[in-house]
Structure formats: structure tokens, C-alpha cells
């Protein structure tokens, strides 16, 4: 039987359904959902799968509540370094707040800078591409142009994938 089955009807139904996902390494057949192991609870098609997520969410809310309560009732403790335990000095609190702000803003600034840089490079590429198109439309390639233009002057043609005409047209 599959991972976590609550009734014989469900068992027969699941027997017909192709299995999805990886099988667990250790699995007990005909196990009641109320007694499934933690690793089985999170497997696909386990009816109690969502309960764990609810419990985890409630646990997160509890932690947030504790932290908020600590911050309101004892701000000096809450603003102390979590590992070194230096509490009460003004310079330490200032350093803690400054470093928290820096570590929060630095990744945002870096991501913003990278996005801005990529947009700028892409815009430059678009500009060069469109100007190359206009130049080629105004001055279409002529016979023997590969001999007349330098490699740099041929760049707009390459941007448009227009190879200089190598055959005589007239």
C-alpha cells in the first residue's frame, strides 16, 4: 500500500492510481494515519499532511509573539546581541541596530544594482540594434560591400544578420 492510507476504499482507489513522487526508504503497510511517522506525514496523498503545516505555522506565530512581547516588555534585552549577551551599553545597541539595518539593506541594494545594470546593458543593446537597423534601411548593402566597409562598419549588418551581398545583382 502507499504512504498513508486511512480506509480500505481509499486503499483500493490508490491502487489504481499511478504513484507520484519518490517512495520512502522505510514504510509500514496498513499504518493508521494517526500513528504515521513524521516522515510519512509529509508525503504526497497523506490526509494528515496539512496538519503538520498548520502546526508549523502556529509554531512560527508563537515565536513571533514571543519576540514581539520581549521587544515591548524588555527592549534592552531584545536589542542585545543574540550570541554575545552584551546588554545595556549604548554603543552595543547602536552597533546592533546599525548592523541589522546594514545586513537588511545590503542584499536589497545589491539586487537592485544588478537589475539596474542588466536593464541598462539591455537598453544599450536595443539602442545599438535599432540604430543599426535604421542605418541599413537608409543605406542598403551594395555589391561588393564587404570590400568597401571595414569590420567595424559591418557591425550594423551583422546585428541584422544581413550578410554583405557576394553575388552581382545587375
Amino acid at each position: 500500500m502507499r504512504e498513508c492510507i486511512s480506509s480500505p476504499v481509499e486503499a483500493s482507489f490508490l491502487a489504481e492510481v499511478p504513484e507520484r513522487g519518490a517512495r520512502s526508504a522505510r514504510r509500514d503497510n496498513r499504518e493508521y494515519c494517526a500513528y504515521v511517522r513524521e516522515e510519512q506525514r509529509f508525503q504526497p496523498r497523506c490526509p494528515t499532511r496539512g496538519f503538520g503545516e498548520v502546526l508549523r505555522f502556529q509554531g512560527t506565530r508563537g515565536v513571533v509573539g514571543i519576540v514581539a512581547g520581549l521587544l515591548v516588555s524588555a527592549p534592552a534585552q531584545a536589542l542585545a546581541c543574540a550570541v554575545c549577551g552584551f546588554v545595556g551599553t549604548g554603543s552595543n545597541t547602536w552597533a546592533y541596530q546599525a548592523m541589522t539595518a546594514a545586513l537588511s539593506l545590503l542584499p536589497l541594494a545589491m539586487i537592485g544594482t544588478i537589475v539596474w545594470w542588466l536593464a541598462r546593458v539591455a537598453a544599450r543593446a536595443d539602442t545599438e540594434r535599432s540604430s543599426a537597423k535604421e542605418r541599413v534601411v537608409d543605406h542598403p548593402p551594395r555589391v561588393g560591400i564587404e570590400n568597401a566597409l571595414s569590420w567595424r562598419e559591418q557591425a550594423p549588418l551583422r546585428a541584422l544578420d544581413v550578410a554583405p551581398n557576394r553575388t552581382s545583382t545587375s
Binding site: N92, A95, L103, P107, I114, A125, R129
Partner: protein, 197 residues
């Protein structure tokens, strides 16, 4: 022909175009993670230093960190960074001098690492070890981590030089190695100003 023209010119209309070489983009993202790595170290250092009693934030025996010697070492590192920038310009201009410039930059970077190692040997000989106190521990961890990054970046520059000599260096690889070395050079003044003073 500029790099942008090379990139734009390499594709036809409607095709996918690479406005930034993948090697460069990957390295930029990696450098972003490394910046956060060092920011974490420096943050811990700053908070610990701000909260520590003044008599507790010293090296054993009243010793001080070698400020002047490290400043001299830093000059070698900055000169190396400038040479990498020059080598990049020469490489884009298809100059044959790019390989020599890149080699000089690599040698200067290696000199920085060797001189830093010499400082460490002197400190350890004077009894300053990782367990000598919070300052010593932070010093060895932060500066040592930077040295590891410098060695890794030097390997990248060395490979770039070797490929450039053989005419097999791709533009993306060069930009990646260059970017990583810039990171090593530019993060150093921050570490120096924060840890040594």
C-alpha cells in the same frame, strides 16, 4: 569592435541574445553572496567590539596588529587591481601586451598573500593565536577568509593568463576572473579599516 557589438552582432533577428556573458552574470551573483558572507563577519566583529570591555579587546601582551606593514601589502594588492583593469582594456583592444600585464597583476596579488602570510607567522611567533582572545580570533578568521578568496581569485587569474597565452581565453571567463579579483581588492580596504583600527 566593442564587446557589445560582438554580442549583438553574433545573433540574427528574433534570436535569443546574450547581453551579458553568462560567466560574468554568474560571477556577479556569486560575488553578491560573498559580500553578504563578509558583511556577516564584519557585523559580528562590530557588535562584539562595541559591547566588549576595553581591556578585553586587546591582543596578549599589549601587542597591536601590524598596521604599517599591512598598508604596504595593501599597495601591492591595489596595484594588482589596477593592472587587471589595464589588462582588460588591452585584451579588448586585442593587444599582445595583455598577457604580460595579467601575469604582473597575478604576481603582485601573490605577493600580497605571501606578505600577509609572513605577518601571520610573526604574530603566531609572538604568541597571538586563534585562542588568544576575541580580537585575535576575529582577526584570523576574517583576514584568513579574505586570504582564501585571494588565493582562489589568483588561481582564476592564473588560468586566464594561461589561456590567454594559448589564445584560448573566452571573454566570459576573463570577465569572471576580473570581477572576482575586483571583489577581493575592493573588500580589503573595508576589512582593513574595520579590523585593524
Amino acid at each position: 569592435m566593442t564587446a557589445l557589438e560582438q554580442t549583438v552582432g553574433a545573433v540574427g533577428p528574433g534570436a535569443r541574445r546574450e547581453v551579458v556573458p553568462s560567466g560574468l552574470l554568474g560571477m556577479v551573483i556569486f560575488v553578491g553572496t560573498e559580500v553578504m558572507f563578509f558583511a556577516g563577519f564584519l557585523s559580528a566583529f562590530t557588535i562584539s567590539k562595541a559591547g566588549a570591555p576595553i581591556f578585553d579587546w586587546n591582543l596578549p601582551g599589549g601587542q597591536v596588529l601590524p598596521l604599517a606593514e599591512t598598508a604596504v601589502n595593501s599597495i601591492a594588492l591595489f596595484a594588482s587591481g589596477v593592472l587587471v583593469w589595464v589588462a582588460g582594456r588591452q585584451y579588448r583592444a586585442h593587444s599582445s601586451a595583455a598577457a604580460q600585464t595579467l601575469l604582473a597583476a597575478t604576481v603582485l596579488g601573490a605577493l600580497f598573500v605571501v606578505l600577509q602570510g609572513r605577518e601571520w607567522v610573526g604574530l603566531i611567533a609572538r604568541g597571538v593565536t586563534l585562542s588568544s582572545g576575541a580580537l585575535a580570533a576575529f582577526f584570523y578568521v576574517i583576514v584568513g577568509t579574505h586570504a582564501v578568496h585571494a588565493v582562489a581569485a589568483l588561481v582564476g587569474l592564473g588560468v586566464a593568463w594561461w589561456r590567454l597565452r594559448g589564445g584560448r581565453l573566452s571573454y566570459g571567463f576573463f570577465l569572471g576572473a576580473q570581477t572576482f579579483w575586483y571583489f577581493v581588492v575592493l573588500i580589503w580596504p573595508v576589512i582593513y579599516a574595520r579590523v585593524y583600527f
